[in-house]
Amino acid sequence: MPKLHIKVDPDLCIGAASCVTIAPETFQLNEENKAYVLDHGLEPTPRSYERIVEVTEEEKENMILAAQSCPTLAIFIFDEAGVQLFPEL
């Protein structure tokens, strides 16, 4: 299964929660109202704004959809080679 590097920029995140609605297994909001990254609903410690997660094709599509839905484009997704998949450059 492919691995994705998922990263939230907390400085851009405004807590709109679009990502939480679309991909709650990957994103939740912390007490500062910023999205952090989970691994299939789990929070391997410490809580983090970025994480490498192993995903199925279907999960990958949904994570990209979540990133696309973010109104501040605060979510960045890279593939294993470090190529930025979203936002498209």
């Binding site: 400085d11 851009l12 405004i14 807590g15 709109a16 929660a17 679009s18 609605t21 939740q28 909001l29 007490e31 500062e32 109202n33 839905s69 109104p71 501040t72 484009l73």
Partner: protein, 394 residues
């Protein structure tokens, strides 16, 4: 199949994108009042404060429309709808036929009566560019005014605070969001803003603008105040005229059922303009936020292309006012609630309001209490009663 979409904001553009995914050969036309490709209105404050460069606000490139084979008409509005013969009349005089029509026109800002240089609105990228220019002209001794007590007023507060411009805020009600907030929540905001050197003038309306070439002061119901810049955020006012002439039912928005279908066959609506039946909170409601608009665009496209899909989302809106976090979730209209319960206190620096109707929770407002957001959101979705919800809040 000819799909025609009036309005190319996030609702209309997302609908066009989803329709193309589902139907490779349909004719899709997107009518845009603005000349820019899709951009994020939510990113405009970040652009104004210099957190991102201007080109980062765009979500689509100009070439995207051609690549998707979507006909993109810019600088054009709709003027007429003939639902019997199924065509619309556009502002450039053209008539366009449709099989399925989507109304996603959003809202126009409500304006003050006069216009003097120095007055700013905050909805479009052009508005933001104008404000960038105005901000660059402010010097020492500048004083900003804000007229309004809602989400746009919060954006102006943050922008003027960022540029360290002394600010006076005039709002018509006793406090912010008078239709949603209890006096305690209003007082919490007031204290916070006063602690951050914002001068507040409650129960005040701006009645006159003074200045020959440029704004020098505003006259309000309580006096005259010297300002060189005035940010206006007093709500939106959509243009319903062509819809009403075609007997499309409207209220505060375009009325629709839970499938975003209007009363007129083959005419749909989505985004800020839609007043749709929300099956979670169980009433017709108009909601203006990004997530709602984007999700409705995607949902209505499914229905328009033949897969009838009910729209379900617990909507939320998050902002902050000079560091104080504010979150609205679900139905937060006091007049539509049977009870509004208060959790927390002014002294503790945070209050949560829980809106209850017919024995169940339908909405929540959190000010300085982010930690309650998830419990309240889940409670609305699961239609729990207040007592069960209250037990989950420490």
């Amino acid at each position: 199949m000819r799909f025609l979409i009036i309005g190319a904001g996030v609702a209309g553009t997302t609908a066009a994108e989803e329709l193309r995914k589902r139907d490779k050969s349909a004719d899709i036309t997107l009518v845009s009042e603005e000349h820019h490709p899709l951009y994020s209105r939510v990113l405009l404050p970040h652009y104004l404060k210099g957190k991102i460069v201007r080109e980062r606000v765009f979500l689509k490139k100009e070439s995207w429309y051609t690549e998707q084979n979507i006909e993109w008409l810019t600088g054009i509005t709709c003027k007429q709808l003939d639902p019997r013969n199924k065509f619309v009349g556009l502002s450039d005089g053209r008539e366009l036929p449709y099989d399925k029509l989507l109304i996603a026109t959003g809202g126009e800002v409500r304006a003050v009566d006069e216009d003097v240089r120095g007055v700013s609105y905050f909805r479009t990228l052009d508005d933001a560019d104008h404000l960038v220019q105005l901000l660059s002209e402010q010097g020492p001794g500048s004083h900003a005014g804000i007229f309004g007590g809602g989400f746009i007023a919060c954006e102006y507060l943050n922008i003027f605070s960022h540029f360290q411009i002394p600010t006076t805020l005039f709002h018509r009600g006793a406090h912010f969001w008078t239709r949603s907030l209890l006096p305690e929540a209003g007082a919490l905001m007031e204290n916070h803003l006063k602690n951050h050197q914002v001068e507040l003038q409650a129960n005040t309306s701006v009645t006159e603008l003074k200045g020959e070439k440029e704004l020098t002061s505003v006259v309000t119901t309580t006096g005259e105040h010297a300002v060189s810049l005035l940010g206006v955020g007093i709500g939106i006012q959509p243009d319903f005229s062509w819809m009403r002439e075609a007997h499309v039912e409207t209220g505060v928005g375009v009325k629709a059922n839970a499938f975003l279908e209007t009363n007129v066959p083959d005419v749909y609506t989505a985004g800020d303009i839609a007043e749709f039946f929300d099956p979670i909170i169980e009433r017709q409601i108009q909601i203006g936020n990004w997530m709602n608009a984007m999700s409705q665009g995607r949902c209505v496209a499914k229905t328009m292309s033949g897969e009838k899909t009910e729209f379900r989302l617990v909507s939320s809106y998050a902002t902050n006012a000079i560091g104080l976090e504010i979150i609205f979730v679900g139905d937060v209209e006091k007049a539509a609630a049977d009870h509004v319960h208060l959790v927390g206190s002014i002294e503790s620096g945070g209050v949560t309001q829980i809106f209850e109707r017919q024995g169940r929770v339908v909405g929540g407002v959190m000010i300085g209490r982010n930690q309650d957001r998830k419990v309240v959101t889940d409670g609305i979705a699961q239609k729990v009663d207040f007592v069960s919800l209250r037990r989950q809040i420490p």
